[in-house]
């Protein structure tokens, strides 16, 4: 571009010079001057041209030099570029390789991760199991390591390391060892009044614990929450206590134990004694108990009466006979007076007072005396029989009222919960039971008592006839 400007400049000047004379008046002078000016201009132009050419050559040389150096630089850069591209290629290849590798490795990692998770899960489940086993075991109430590490593992607050796994195995082995033991040791338990006391504690494996405080022997229950043994609220039966005591003293190798781990013992606590069932029978129970009380009073009164009025009638008649044959009437009367409060003797005495009479009159007098003795002997017996008959009827009445209650409950609540109905049912059953338990002994004693009274009356009749015969025998001798 620069070159073009330089080359066009003189042409422009020439055009301007040729145009000027057309405007001038003095053409000649003007031409010379113009000629001169034109020559100077040409000279200047030539010089300028030379200088320009020199500068151009110089700049061309410089440009050439620059170009060469630039080309060298380009070549260098291109070679560098090529090597870089090569590096990039190799690195690309390496990158792809690494990506592949990363893929493989992450796949492997996920596999391992899931395996570890599974393993941790198994360990946690087992830790929970072992923890439950240890806390449920009543032997841990008597010392033993607290299983806190297992809880931490089980509650996912800690990653189970190899130490924990070892501790788990150790705990499990310890459990196996201790649960196979039957041990008798001193320990603290909560007694039936709720106090902590020291007692001899007998541990039968993981099943049952029994205790002895002084002369009280009983079973213990175990509360896993407090890790404490506490005595059952109710003592076992005497037979069971005997078994336990003899086992504790080493005299026997039989011991009652509860293999249901507390279920049977809880059932023992729920068991009701007879007198505890009585209030469950409702209002009918009290009349039945009243009947029982009255009946017992009557039976006792009658037994006392009969025992006090008992006499060896055969012996009496024999004595009377021996006196009669000697006709010693006062002696006969004193014998009878000695037993003045005994019916047989009174009857015999009534016979003796009329010993002079005819046979029929004597028999009448004796019959009268016997009839006088019968009412006090039979007193209350018919009442007793009536009570014995009423008692089961009262029980039946209680049964019916209990069933009515039950059906009320059924109409209100339906049959869904048998526990609701059990109130009425237990009333029904308890009253029936009480009615029968009262009726059976009353019935038995009523029969036996009236049998005894009948026997006494028969004895009196027999002795009366015997007396008449004796008296007539002695008269016949006369």
């Amino acid at each position: 571009m620069k070159k073009i400007v330089f080359s066009r400049f003189p042409v422009l000047l020439m055009v301007i010079a040729m145009a000027l004379p057309a405007a001038a008046g003095d053409m000649r002078e003007l031409q010379i001057q113009a000629q001169e000016a034109r020559q100077t201009l040409i000279r200047d132009a030539a010089a300028e041209k030379a200088a320009a050419e020199a500068a151009a050559a110089e700049s061309r040389a410089r440009i050439m030099k620059d170009r060469v150096s630039l080309e060298a630089a380009i070549a260098a850069l291109e070679s560098a570029n090529r090597s870089l591209e090569k590096t990039v290629d190799t690195m690309d290849a390496e990158y792809r390789q690494l990506v592949d590798r990363e893929g493989q490795l992450s796949e492997k990692l996920t596999r391992t991760d899931s395996m570890i998770n599974e393993l941790v899960g198994v360990i946690r489940v087992n830790a929970k199991d072992v923890d439950g086993l240890i806390t449920q075991n009543l032997q841990s109430a008597m010392g033993g390591t607290p299983p806190s590490f297992l809880q931490a593992v089980a509650q996912e607050s800690r990653f189970p390391g190899m130490d924990d796994v070892r501790a788990l195995a150790r705990g499990l082995l310890d459990q196996i060892e201790t649960t196979s033991e039957v041990a008798m040791q001193k320990g603290t338990i909560i007694d039936r009044a709720g106090r902590d006391v020291d007692a001899d504690v007998l541990l039968l494996g993981p099943f049952t614990a029994a205790y002895r405080i002084g002369d009280e022997t009983g079973f213990c229950n175990y509360s896993a929450a407090g890790r404490k043994l506490y005595a059952l609220s109710r003592l076992p039966t005497g037979r069971m206590q005997n078994h336990l005591e003899r086992y504790m003293d080493g005299e026997s190798d039989v011991v009652p134990m509860d293999i249901s781990r507390g279920g049977a013992l809880r059932q023992l606590t729920h068991e009701l004694k007879l007198w505890e069932q009585v209030p469950k029978g409702g209002p009918i129970v009290w009349p039945i108990l009243l009947i029982l009380a009255v009946g017992i009073l009557i039976v006792i009164e009658r037994i006392i009466f009969l025992v006090r009025k008992h006499l060896d009638a055969d012996g009496l008649v024999r004595t009377i006979e021996s006196h009669c044959l000697k006709e010693d009437w006062p002696a006969c009367e004193t014998v009878c007076d000695r037993h003045a409060n005994i019916p047989v003797a009174r009857v015999v005495k009534a016979g003796l007072t009329c010993c002079d009479m005819q046979r029929e009159e004597m028999e009448n007098a004796l019959q009268e005396a016997i009839l006088r003795e019968i009412p006090p002997m039979e007193r209350f017996l018919s009442t007793l029989g009536m009570l014995a008959a009423i008692a089961p009827l009262m029980g039946l009445l209680g049964t019916v009222t209990g069933m009515i209650d039950t059906f009320h409950v059924i109409t209100l609540h339906g049959t869904g919960d048998p526990r609701l109905m059990s109130g009425g049912i237990s009333e029904a059953l308890v009253t029936t039971m009480l009615g029968l338990t009262v009726a059976i002994p009353l019935m038995l004693s009523q029969t036996l008592l009236s049998r005894a009274v009948d026997k006494k009356i028969g004895e009196m009749e027999e002795k009366a006839v015997a007396l008449v015969n004796i008296i007539h025998k002695s008269r016949g001798k006369r």
Partner: protein, 188 residues
């Protein structure tokens, strides 16, 4: 026996007592039935004032004869009354224990019923603790209920039968003793 619970003990006692009395009475009546003395021989004994041989005759008639001979006076009129007395004494002794056997037989089913009720109470106790789910727990009470009822009936039915049998036999013997009394009265 153990499955029946507490009621089984009185049941067993009632049964034992009842059967002891039954056996005792049955043997006694059998003795009175067997080796009976014909009435004409009895009158011979009476006339000769000879005690009957206890090895040959041990029936009801010889009992009357022996009892009478022990007590007799030699007054004919009085002897008739003494014979009446003997018959009365013997007939009274025949009814011994029969009422007790009857009441024991009557009590046995009541005891069985009592066992049923206690068994049902057990069952309902378990029902109120565990609900209806625990069939095994309830089975104990139910078996108690059934076993005692069964035992009570087993004791009562033969007992009542034996009571009837012994009653008949006693009445029979009483009639025989009374007949002997009337016959011998004529002979005196």
């Amino acid at each position: 026996m153990r499955a029946g619970g507490v009621t089984m003990l009185p049941l067993a006692l009632v049964s034992l007592a009842m059967w002891l009395l039954i056996v005792d009475r049955a043997l006694f009546f059998r003795r009175l039935y067997r080796k009976n003395m014909p009435l004409n021989i009895a009158s011979v004994h009476l006339r000769e004032n000879r005690m009957p041989d206890p090895r040959r005759y041990c029936g009801a008639v010889s009992m009357v004869v022996a009892g009478f001979i022990q007590r007799r006076s030699n007054d004919r009129r009085l002897d008739r009354f003494i014979l009446d007395e003997t018959v009365l004494t013997i007939n009274r002794s025949l009814n011994d224990h029969l009422a007790v056997i009857g009441v024991l037989a009557a009590i046995a089913p009541l005891l069985g019923l009592l066992g049923t009720v206690t068994g049902m109470i057990d069952t309902f106790d378990i029902l109120s603790v565990f609900g209806t789910g625990n069939a095994k727990g309830m089975a104990g009470g139910i078996s108690e209920a059934l076993i005692t009822t069964q035992t009570g009936l087993l004791v009562a039915i033969p007992g009542l039968y034996m009571k009837g049998f012994l009653d008949r036999r006693a009445r029979n013997l009483q009639q025989r003793v009374a007949r002997t009394g009337y016959y011998l009265r004529r002979q005196i």
